[in-house]
Symmetry: C2
């Protein structure tokens, strides 16, 4: 840890009170330097399982054959974009490949600017879209002290457990749309003008609230009326994780203009991207001659293609749906014995439970949730905590997660909740 | 090409009138889809040679073992930073690993902001430092139509062939420092204040002028006096390419505050980084809790470490010096028969010749230079054109380039310059 601080600098976050020193991964399992095995219920980057042989083989084969950039012609990037864009359907036929989701969102914001000629952006007050100078300004939870974020407005994050205005369903949806509309008016009055609304359609960092299909319909109408662009950040819900749909915007019934992708896209290889319509792509590419040296290079494209092949050919979205449902049923059963479980949410293999000190007041059990995450680590199960009050257990395993794995998770959680008193 | 336009969008640049469709690379050689072999005199990304077995093996081994992120502990990133920082010496002991040089420069600008509390940046008028919203603003040659670049000031790029003020040497250096000083005053008067000067210490995109050691000494003093930060973008000259030194700033005798790295760092794997002093790192990390999901992950760190091992263990910097000198001697001999060669410049395996229509007037042979790059492609040698007037042949092969390879390049160039009339 000292060596790490010296070489990486201060404030580099680690997971858990006692950080895990991993040396090996396979499927849903990881091993630490002492040979201890952990069930990985948290890592969405190794989306199709740690070190999936099909992806490793694709990376090795291509890394040993050719790795240049897209100013030379190469087929794999085109094959990939065709196969990927088919999962979105018309009109999402065109793509820029980048290396990180941050780069993808940085481009998406500029697509909004190129289309509207304006700069104002709306995001939720509990989101995170990445780390470039421009994108980091969107975060209220990890705000940079540098730069200029005067063109950003925040709206309250949806919260199905404590809904805006006290009402779930349509009233909650209307309240969210009204907040977006007010932010648009503020931006137009400020001189920045309104360019785009950027949201994770699963509201992952906000604690993945349970929202009805159509929740964003009024919001969408408000943005359209103002001539703005909707950016759906699919970095967390995408690629089949949520089980019922390939993409978060499809589940909630939102039609975005720009879709950004990241973490799980190539199972850990640095690949991300921006998918959009031909018109928006043309507007962006006319406004800036973007080129990314590593983006979509032959190895990146091969890694992404292999990952998509595994998701589709091994039926991992369906597995996410089935095992996710099973695990949530298990959590519901646990809630009968553990009053601290206030709410169970999620879809597919992106789920969790909000821990509260009192089910009536819904007072968040924030410290306890962190204690439980550490207790689970001690029990050989890796998960983490997020949400507006940082009291929601976040469970997001690699997609080949089985019912047996879920049982192990549930047993460990039952034990942790039983053993560790809420007062700590 | 149609499929490419449809899937990637318009204005995606390719090299050469007839783009090259590469399928294989090995050492300094690449092959196209028709089986034709080309001598690669241009690609600095496959720094230690296309598909170098030591790097490929490191990538394959680690990709098959574990690939998570730096919120878990892992040794390789620490081993790498220790080995790399030794090449800079004190006080450059700390690093953030990113995926692209653009991300690295985006962080570097924020380090300048964090240290100075100001935002104004100075760059040359013919540079390019990357493609994020913030960094793209630095480019005058490929400027974005979006965003706000009001805090950027440009100074005329150094040009040893047509020096500022008409004088080479000390007068040229003074003129450059004076331009920087004027830009600082402008920024301070504008309300933005002066934060940092960002330069490639080899002025690669500017056409790699021949500059004396100490050329930037007065500029450095001017920046220090104003309390600013100097960012050395080593993406192009770094990692031994220039033969005499590992880094461009060491050759020109500049002491920067922040050093950014990119393209050649992991031989094509998406790896880049920012190296700085502990104080500046602490200022940045206190101002923003930066985290990069893929940056410095075990595979990225392994690829970077293997690349550095090859550079050092195979003596590639020394090879770059010896073969680069040999190739420049060959160009000098060619200049005796070809009046179009107006100036020969460079260091190590980053060199080229400026083509002019008239040696007295130095009128740039811009169109002819592009014609020659295409003629060389037809002769099986890949190089390109850059510089202030886009009339400089840019030759920047993988570092295992041999004298025999140089002979092939020189023979092809002799033939192209002989065969293709200057009038075209």
């Amino acid at each position: 840890m000292n060596r790490r601080r010296r070489l990486l600098g201060p404030n580099v976050s680690t997971f858990y009170e006692e950080p895990v020193h991993l040396v090996k991964g396979e499927g849903v399992w990881v091993w630490d330097a002492d040979g201890r095995k952990y069930l990985d219920c948290y890592n969405n980057v190794p989306h199709v399982g740690h070190c999936h042989p099909h992806v490793v083989e694709a990376i090795c084969r291509q890394a040993g054959t050719l790795n240049t950039h897209t100013r030379y012609l190469h087929e794999t990037i085109l094959d990939y974009i065709e196969r990927l864009s088919a999962t979105f359907g018309d009109p999402f036929s065109t793509m820029i490949m980048t290396c990180t989701g941050s780069e993808a969102n940085d481009i998406a914001l500029r697509m909004g600017e190129a289309v509207t000629g304006k700069r104002g952006v709306i995001a939720t007050d509990h989101t995170y879209h990445g780390n470039t100078s421009a994108v980091a300004q969107l975060s209220r939870t990890n705000p940079p002290k540098t730069g200029d974020g005067s063109h950003i407005r925040h709206v309250p994050a949806p919260d199905s457990y404590r809904p805006l205005g006290g009402e779930a369903g349509a009233a909650h949806a209307r309240a969210f749309a009204a907040a977006v509309e007010a932010a648009i008016q503020e931006l137009e009055a400020s001189g920045h003008g309104f360019s785009s609304l950027i949201i994770c359609p699963f509201f992952a960092n906000e604690g993945f609230p349970t929202l009805m299909e159509g929740f964003l319909a009024e919001t969408e109408a408000v943005v359209r009326k103002a001539g703005g662009v909707i950016i759906a950040d699919e970095v967390q819900p995408g690629f089949g994780r949520i089980g019922t749909h390939m993409w978060g915007h499809q589940k909630i019934g939102l039609t975005p203009d720009v879709i950004t992708l990241g973490k799980p896209m190539a199972n850990g290889h640095p690949v991300a991207g921006v998918v959009t319509t031909p018109d928006i792509m043309a507007a962006f590419r006319t406004s800036f001659r973007y080129f990314n040296t590593f983006g979509g290079n032959p190895v990146c494209a091969a890694a992404a293609l292999a990952t998509l092949e595994v998701v589709q050919d091994e039926g991992l979205m369906e597995n996410a749906r089935v095992v996710g449902d099973y695990a949530r049923e298990g959590l519901t059963a646990l809630a009968e014995c553990h009053d601290v479980i206030g709410d169970i949410r999620g879809s597919g293999l992106f789920f969790g439970a909000e821990l509260v000190l009192d089910r009536a007041t819904k007072e968040p059990a924030t410290a306890y949730a962190t204690t439980i995450a550490n207790a689970m680590r001690d029990r050989g199960v890796l998960l983490n905590v997020l949400g507006i009050h940082y009291n929601t257990l976040k469970i997001r395993p690699p997609l080949p997660f089985t019912k047996e794995n879920a049982n192990l998770l549930l047993d460990a959680l039952d034990d942790a909740l039983t053993t560790v008193p809420v007062a700590t």
